[in-house]
Each structure stands twice: as structure tokens, then as C-alpha cells.
Symmetry: D2
Subunit: 369 residues, 4 copies
């Protein structure tokens, strides 16, 4: 049966135990910079929802933008909203129409709540649904003791996956989606930009069968993390030529693919220049503003394919990620550099701004790390 | 919002007008051969369902098997069940949780009701859902004045599509799915087996850009219909060599693809033999029993790809079909040879058995053709 | 045997008849603007070459650039060189190592002479060979009474293809390659830029099974040709919104693909904006200079794929083109607006510059149109 | 320039040193069982050939069939012919038209000599060339001190690859081709049949990013080798259920793909049954005779894709293999169980027949292991 399948009589929701009525949460309370910790009602669990006790949550670059209240945030958010779109939780309540999950199961969450009706959704491309609402952005998210999510968005966490890894399956899925946008097996790939998703992408490319992975970033701290994620080579494009390094690594052939995670125009140009003819550049990193390319030389004459990548394929990406994690091929723990209490969210934001962190994972109120 | 999205309070369903409480339907009433016309209650419309007034319905080979009560039917059906999995209807009632459709709209229906949970469903392959229930087979179908269907299964019929064509979008979707299982554009294809789906496939291949389409069947009646569907050449393999005909049509190169609609072992072997090396055979026709291939000569040495095809990709196939029909590129009317009253269902079955019919469309009680 | 296969003893080349020793040709004689008609020796036919008597030749935008002596020409050409990279000829002499062709056969020519050794060539991507030399650019071409070409570059012209069409199979192949860079069948496509290759692309998209084709250009003359090539709709983006027109044509869904033939930044931006999420833009048109995109909004958030396209896949594109032409599905004659004597080459260049021409075909000395 | 490019004057071939005039070779001297060691003239090096001093050669199952003089051999071979289609050699002479290689380089060899003219060759599918001649089968091969091969068939061996591995790149390429016939990354695959190519395929699947690899065979000896090649699980289908084992390994989902290396009908049926719906079975193993499938249950209802696989993609497979080997991701040495003098060829054949060997590599006369 479909999660949507009607039930004869709307049964009461099922719950393991008596839940509190209020909880703490990290909330964007009003338009303007900042975020605060508030007491809120524990969310209601709709008929097709799951209510989760949050076990761990990841902090994303998007959360920084929301705290900063940048232009995108101003246009998109309607405060008040509970932040947090990367998390793992335990099911404590199950909507009346949900048949798939059991109370007590641990689930990670796809953050995109999609419409199911648009041409994207109807043709297997829900990741670019025209009506996407995002948990922790458009809808209350997981920086809280509890969060309600559509059951269809929940993904059962494989037994061997540690909580801090389960917490970051959402951004890990971005890395998987980007890597799997083109061939990986036996290909020589580069990852440009070694923030958390770039670091994840190094591990994904290796686990998914890339022959060699070159990583680039301008931060020595991040390049060290790239090495720990088993990049075959790393390069700081300020001090060495990315294109040269790529040719060296590939016996002069050039890269087969670039996973672009930086949004930096120079990284994109370098990536395109370092590709062999016929290669692909898969682009997840968001630039701050429009930028130009020498299309003839970098794209057309070389027969390059450029992929715009967003979100995660629903749910093929999750299946791929599940397999990589459950098989033990992929370990992203070197990229998770900090675990801290959720109440220290603003400290986590500062830490990320400093550039001296990979992924930061938060432990909600009442949970122990 | 998703069709599954919960509503605050289960609102009453919406209906255009007062509906009758009973209706006529073609029913498999009990285990054993036959089918009968019965008075039944008009189906209830669940929260995520649509109730349709049936406007036209198509008769399928599967319906013949069910009437015959063959082995497959004996194992699969749990009478009583209303037959009919190909139909178009007008929405007369809308479940409380349905937001997408309006009363009065005309919709065709995907006949596979899928679970949404299995690995197939979760990875964009719902057409091979492990828990599929089929309208008119496992669940009451559309050989009736009214039918209730999950809203997610409904496809709005393009304005220019005549009712009898809308009625057969389900089997037309089989043809589209088979054709689109491999490349079509500029390829030389054959359709082996010119029953209704084979006839549709000829039209689909032509409209979707095949360079040339060869059709084969052992019935002169069906070959004549194949010609009307614009096959570039037809062949009766009892009186001429399929392989020779294929070589002739392709300047000696061999076919690029075969759309196998017959389930006939000789047709499959001929099809494989007529393929160029590296070609594809996409197989929708169901054989009566297992059969052998000379794998080395016909498949391995030639580097052939064989696709097993079932159902329709949900809903990419519908989108493709919609575009082909709405653009006017595809006209399947030559394959629809008979339109008759639904009360004459058993006559329709006899007609189909005689081999002197293409697709037969039924007009329900109260509708005029 | 391979065209490269050595022969026991280097036999003399085979020739149908006594050939003249000199011929007329359109030559870029020296660095600087212009081109002139000269008397040259008839080319020698190497062991793996064919010598062709040129029957018809097409004038390309690249020829205009060479006459103008633009920056690209200055960097690329080493005069003297005989121009002309689009042509059809009759085989009059066959190199000693050539076994495949017969004297008297009519062949069109792939203009890219490739190395066969680089990673592109060795992995089926010769169209982006790192060492490509182009007939009529790097090597003497076909604006002459005779031309010598590698036998491997020759493509036997299907019997039903008129000479003026055979003459332009090279640029037609560009259109085919661009269209076939992504799905065509049942897709709604646009062609931006209705120069000769854009016009061909309209015909190709239609013949290869596109559901609907929208064409855009700023020239009423070219839009009229687009209509004659059976575009379903045309739009002049100076007077109407391309994006609106695309939505209208597709029932609000947006385009599935754009075949970009203009090199115009506004056309690219419009094309990307008009794509549905997940669509593709295949880019053959060369811009004059680098230009910027709003990557986030136009590419990344929409999950768009951009293909850089150059040349023709060797020789899959030719096989596709052959099938489309030989089957009669594709007729590009409406795009061929002028046929004139080769000695009037500079007039042809002026005509093309005026914008009042589609494709111009030249008839060499000694041939009659 | 193409290997085929003519040279102005047929220059003398280039050679490093004075070569002997005769050599020893393993020859199928006449129709009938057996093979013998003979003294032959060192082969001549044609204009587009390389002459190799053979360094190592692999024995293949096909060689056993030729020694046995089975039906296939009787139909195919025209004795006398020097056997051996898997080998690595050092270039000692270079044909006059060859520009790519240097004397002294080590090259492995694609064994398929293809025509370059048929539709397969012209569309990037030379591995199914209609006119293939095979080294050591149709043309003198590498079980000899020297062998002449077309330069286009030579692949420069990466520096880090040991000689015995270089010797078996040809069958390793079969394994790569089979694995790469469908998705590998993050997929759960099985290899049915653990002869040398099956063993290689285990290593390839792991190196190319499979999540888990299940191996099956009926020989404990081979299953032990499968373990050494890092299969995640092994199963003897005589003592345990392959389907059950596959479900266990995949958390109940079923396999994503099967690499079929046995030619055994039961293995194919098991493999199909163990696939998840929508999975793929890529079939390289050759059955002894035609066999039947329950197509409905095993292929059509499940939406399975079956690939017939032969040879190696020319030369994409070699590029993939090169990357896997040169990067150190793939080590196939555990599958190479014996290295012996070439003069002991018939002993090697017996050893292989006993089933107590993986791949056997031969050391030619004059070489030391």
C-alpha cells in the first residue's frame, strides 16, 4: 500500500510512551540576523507523518546563511521557523495512515518535501520538484528535541551506521548525487572545494570505484581532512597549478570528471580546463553571483557535459548511500570534526565560519553524545 | 502538497451531483470460466481516491484469460471482482485528501496500484513494484458505470484526445514503454506480433522517430491493420523470411531493435537473428511456457541486449504518451476496430478470440458512443 | 580488413579514367582577408585515400570567418590552403590500401581527420580528438574540382539523396549530433538560432520524433525558413517572450530540451529559463566572447544538463543521418536556398552575410546544377 | 595522424637489434586433437604492424577447446595456426606506417582484429565487428617467441603492472566489459562461475565500487580463490541456496546485477531469480547448448535486462582496465595460480582441465619467470 492509501477509519496515532508537551528548539524567531533557543510545543504528528525524537543533527552552510540573514534567507524564510534539515531520529509516534515503519526505529530524513504532482515529480525527478518545501527552511526542522516529518521522507538507518553519520546522510546524499551524476567506476575524478560535502564526495568517489581522486581547496586545514578522506592527491590552487596536478595524476590524459563543490568561478574554470575532452563537470556548489565562462574553449570544443545538481534523487540516492554505508565501503567520520550540544548552536556557527571545522554535529537536549 | 498530505480534519468528499447508489458491472463472480453482469453498489471514494463515471473501457487479452479462467487467473484472482483495467472516466467525486484534480475532468488510469515502499518503488521503478495490485484483477476495475481509483493513478487526458483513444492509454502505455526501453530515433525497428499493443507500437515507433518499422504477424487481418498504422513493411513469417525482409529493409545492416509483442518463441528467435550486432530486443509479449534460445549465436556473440518489459514507467511513460498524443504525432485509431456496448462484453471476448479485431472499446451503461 | 591493413606489394592506385593534371580551386592564398580562385595540381591520392571529383559543396559560416580573416582564422590557418569542408564527390581514384570503396561511388565526407591514438579516439570520442585536422582548414578541402580524402572519412551516400543534400551532410551531422546529445522522442524541443544548422536541426528533431519543435531567431527571413522546415511554432525574441511561447507550446510544463545554435548569450539564458527542471541544453553555437550565467537559478536549482557539442560522432552520427535521409523521414531541401557556380564563391559569401540565405551550395567547375 | 596514414615512401621497418630468423611456437598443426611445438619463421612485420618479443602469455579455456578439437574448433580453425591470444610483449620491430609506439615498449594486445567498415565498427561497437579475426585462432598468435600484431591492437602496459598481469589483460578485459555492461557503483553484484574471468570479475567489481560481491561456483578450490579476490560472500549452489544467500547479503532486496561467467543454465536461472526487479544479468559465459528460461517469471514480470557480452569495448574497456590497474585499485594476482614454461603448454592444459588452477601464465622460450 501507498503511504497515501486511505484507512477505513482514521485510527488514533500510535505512540510508544507518553511524550512531553513542550520542547526546546533552535528557532529563527524573526526577520533579521541571529537565531534563538525557544520553548515550543512538541509538533503534532499528522496522519501520514512520523514524529521523531531527534538523536543527532548536522549544521549546514545554509544554516549559516539563515543566521546571517542573507538575501536568499530574506526572500525565502517566513519566521518563526525551527531550523535544521540534517538529522536522525527515533520514531516515537506514527500517523494513522502510516503502515511502513515501527516505533523505535531510527530514521534519517530527506529534507525535500515534494508535491508529487508536477512534471518533475511525475517523471522521477522529485529532487527538482517545482513546489519543494524544505524542512528547517520552509517547515519546522530538526534542531529540536522532536520533529514531525512525512513518513515518505524517512529512511531507515542501516544497523552499522553510527548516529553522527546517520545525522549527516542528507548532505552525504548531496555528495552521492553529484558523484553519481556521471560515471565513477575506473574514472579519474577531482573534487573542487573541501567543505563537508566536498569531503564526503572524496569518500564517495573512492568507495564507488573512482580510479583516482584529486581534491582541491585553499585551506590547509581542509586539505588535511581531504587526505584523511583518502584523496589520492590534494592541491592548493593558490600555490600550484590545478590543471598540471590533474595531468600528472592521470598520466597526461586529463580528468574524466569534476565534482564541483566550491561555487568558485576559478575552480570551475580550472576544473573544465583539467577535464579530458568529453569529460563531465557536476556542479553542486553555489556561486555568490553570476560568472562568465569561455564557452568555446572550455565547454564546446571539448565536448564537455555540465550537470547542475541539487538535492538527492528520491530515493535512488538514498539507496546508493545505504549500500555504501551498510557495506562498510564508505566511512565519512574523518569529515565530522566536532560533536557538540545543540544549545551551543551559535558557537557551532562561529566555528564553521572560522574554517577550522569539517562537519559539525549537534546533540539535542536530553541526548548524550 | 502530496496526495498523501494529511488534512487537519477529514473533510467530506466532494461530489458534483447526486450519484446513483447502484450500478451495473461486468463481474467475475466466482472461480471458474465466464463473467456476468451484476448490479453492485457504486464504489465508495476513499480519502485519497477519485470516483469516476466510466466513459469508455478497453478489452484486453488478460480479460480473455480471466473469462477462460486459465491457470494464471486461478492463481491470481479472488472473486468476486469487477473486471476492466483500461478505461477513461469523468471525475464525479474527490476524496478529502485529494487536491490535484477537479470534478468534471476526464482522466485515464494507470492500472498498477503500487506500494511506494519497496526498493523498486523507492528507486523510480514502480512499474515493477513487488506489491503491485492491479485494477480489474486484484481490485475492482472499470467495466462498470463507476470506478474508484487512487488519485495518484489518474492522468488528465489531453483535450484533443478522443474518448476511445483515452480508453486505451493503459495498453498504449505498454507499447510506449517497450519502444522507449531502448533508442528509437533514426533506428530501424521491428514489431513482432500485431495484436492491439503491437499495432500501437508501430504507431509509437513511427511517431517517436524510428527510421523504418517492419511488422510481422501470421494473420493477414492484423497485417492489414499494421499497414494502416503506417508500418513501412509487413511480413508473414510463414510465407516469407523475417530475417531476409529485415535485411532488405535496412540495406543489409540488420535491425537496430525489435519490439516483441507476440510471446512466440519463433518470433523471438527470428527477431534476435535479424538484429544487427549490438541491437536490442524489448520483450513485452508473454509466452505460454518456457522456451530455449541458442544463447551463443543469438545473444552473446552478437552483443545483444534483451529487456523484459512490463507495465508503464510511472509516470514517465504517461508523459511521453501524452506528448505524442497531444502533439498529434500519434494516431492509434486505425488499431481500434470495434466500439460496442459494455453489456455485450462476452461478445467482445468472442470477437477478440476470432482474431478478426484489433482493439475493442466498450461503452458503459448510460453512455452513448 | 582495416583500411590500414597493409597490402603485400604497394599496388598502383586505381583510377577510372585519365584525370587532368590541374584544376581550379578556391584558395586562401595568403594571410589577410579574401580568397581567390587559382589553378592547382590535382591532389595526389595517398595509399589510404580516395580522390574525389567534387560534385557539390556547401558554404559554411566558418568559410566566412576565413574570408574575413578573423582572429580564429589568423591563429589557425597556414595559407595557402584550399577551402571547403562540406562536399560530396565521385570516387575517381582509390589508394592502394583501400579495399572498401569502388570507383564511381558517391561519397560525402567527415571533415575531421583524427589521430586515432589519443584517449578521445581510443574511447569512441574521435569527434573531440586532441589532434584533429580539418579538411578545408588545416588540409586542402573541397572547393575545387578534385579533393583527396582519407578513405576512412568517406560515407557512401544513400541512393535517394539528392546531390545538394549530400553536399551538406557534414553540417547536417552537426545538427544530428546536437539533437542526439539527449533524448528526442516525445520530447518538446526548441532550436535557438535558425541559420542553416539550426534549420537542419528543426527537421532532424521532427524526423527523429520530437513531439513539438519551437524555433527562435531575430530574422523574419530565417523564421520563414524555420516554418518551411516544419517548426511547430516560431518566435522572434525581440518581439515576444521566448519563455512564454515555450510554456504555451508545452501546456505550461516547459521545454525538455534546447538545441542551441546561435551562440547568443540571451538565447542561452532564455533557453535555460524555458527548460523544465531536469531538461537539457545542447550547445553547438559558438559565442563571440565569454559570457556569464546566473548558474544558481538557471542551472543548479533546476538540475539542468548542458552539453558542449562539436563535430559529429564518428560514425554513429553518420549512421543516424543516413537512416533519416534514406528512409525519407528527413528532407532538408527547404533550408538550401541557393545553388550557384563555385566560381561565384565570394558572391555566396556576401549573400550569406546579408542574412538573406539559408544554406548555399556550390557547383564546381565542369559540373552542371 | 591515423595509424592508417600513408607515408610518402614505404620506409623500411625499424628494429632494435638483429632478430633470429626462426623461433619456437605452440601450433595447431592439423585438424584433429592436440597441439605441438614447432620451429617457425619469425613473423614478418607489416607496414601497420608491431613485432613483439613475447614476454608472457595466458592460457584460456578456448585453447583447451582447440586442443580438444571440439565442434566449434572444427568449424573455425584453419590449421596450421600458432595458438595464444593472451600475451604481453616487447616491441622489437615497428612497421613503416606506425608512428605511435617506440621500440622497447611493453604492450598487451586486443585479440580481435576488426574490419573497420561494418556498421558495428563504424558505430563504436568493434567488439561485435561482423568480420572479426582473432589472434591465435584465425591468425597466428602469441604462444611463440615472437608475434606480429596490428599496431592499433596494442595497448601500452602501465609501468606498475607486473608481467604476469599484463599477460592476462585480454581476459581481464572480458571481466571489465561484463562488469561495466551495467551500473557497478554502490550496487550489490554476484559473479556466477569462478573460472579465471569470474575471479577477475570479482576483483573488478570490488575495485570499480560494487557495494557487495557474492561469488558462486561448485568447486571448493575456486571458491577459495574467490575469497582471495575479496568476494564478500561465496556460495556453492549444490549445498546452499544461491537465492537465499543473495537475499541475505542484500538485506532482502535482491541483487542489482549478476555477472554470468559459467554458461550454466542453473546459474543463469538462479541469477535471474536472485535479482531485484529491474536488475541486470550480463552474460559472458558460453553454454554448451541452447537452454530454456521461464521468461515470464524470470525476465518479463521482473523487468530484467540481459546483456550478451563478448570481447572488450575497443578501447574503452582497455582504458578502464588501465585505470584500475595503474591506480593500484585492482590486483588480480590471487587469480593467477601458476606460471610455467611455454614448452609445457600441454601440461598447462591438463592442469586447467583438472580444475585445480586459476589462470595459468606461460613463459616463452628464452624468457625467465
Amino acid at each position: 500500500m501507498n503511504p497515501a492509501t486511505p484507512v477505513a477509519a482514521p485510527a488514533p496515532t500510535t505512540s510508544t510512551r507518553s511524550l512531553p508537551r513542550t520542547m526546546k528548539a533552535v528557532v529563527k524567531a524573526a526577520a533579521g540576523p541571529g537565531a534563538e533557543i525557544r520553548d515550543l510545543a512538541v509538533p503534532a504528528c499528522g496522519a501520514t507523518d512520523l514524529l521523531l525524537r531527534v538523536l543527532r543533527a548536522g549544521v549546514c552552510g545554509t544554516d549559516l546563511h539563515i543566521v546571517e540573514w542573507d538575501r536568499w534567507s530574506q526572500e525565502r524564510l517566513k519566521p518563526p521557523v525551527t531550523l535544521g534539515h540534517e538529522f536522525v531520529g527515533e520514531i516515537v509516534e506514527r500517523g494513522a495512515a502510516v503502515t511502513e515503519f515501527q516505533l523505535g526505529e531510527r530514521v534519517a530524513c530527506e529534507s525535500h518535501i515534494v508535491c508529487g504532482h508536477c512534471v518533475s515529480c511525475r517523471t522521477g525527478n522529485s529532487h527538482v520538484c517545482e513546489n519543494t518545501r524544505i524542512l528547517g527552511v520552509d517547515v519546522n526542522g530538526g534542531f529540536a528535541a522532536f520533529v514531525a516529518v512525512p513518513a515518505v521522507n524517512a529512511w531507515r538507518v542501516p544497523a552499522n551506521v553510527p548516529l553522527e553519520v546517520a545525522a549527516v546522510m542528507e548532505p552525504l546524499g548531496n555528495a552521492v548525487h553529484t558523484a553519481f551524476a556521471g560515471p565513477i567506476s575506473a574514472h579519474n575524478l577531482a573534487v573542487t572545494g573541501c567543505g563537508p560535502i566536498g569531503l564526503f564526495a572524496i569518500g564517495v568517489a573512492r568507495a564507488a570505484g573512482a580510479a583516482r581522486v584529486l581534491a582541491s581547496d585553499v585551506s590547509p586545514y581542509r586539505l588535511e581532512l581531504a587526505r584523511r578522506m583518502n584523496a589520492d592527491a590534494v592541491v592548493d590552487p593558490r600555490t600550484a597549478s590545478f590543471v598540471e596536478r590533474a595531468r600528472e595524476l592521470t598520466g597526461g590524459r586529463g580528468l574524466d570528471g569534476v565534482l564541483e563543490m566550491s561555487g568558485n568561478p576559478a575552480a570551475v574554470r580550472d576544473g573544465l580546463a583539467a577535464l579530458r575532452n568529453g569529460g563531465r563537470l557536476s556542479m553542486l556548489g553555489l556561486p555568490h553571483e553570476p560568472y562568465a565562462l569561455d564557452w568555446n574553449r572550455l565547454v564546446i570544443f571539448k565536448g564537455i557535459t555540465i550537470h547542475g545538481v541539487i538535492g538527492r534523487r528520491m530515493y535512488e540516492t538514498w539507496y546508493q548511500m545505504d549500500n555504501l554505508l551498510a557495506s562498510g565501503r564508505l566511512d565519512v567520520r574523518p569529515a565530522i570534526t566536532h560533536v557538540m550540544k545543540m544549545e551551543r548552536f551559535l558557537e557551532a556557527v562561529e566555528l564553521l565560519r572560522s574554517g577550522q571545522a569539517g562537519k559539525v554535529v549537534l546533540v539535542p537536549w536530553g541526548e548524550s553524545a
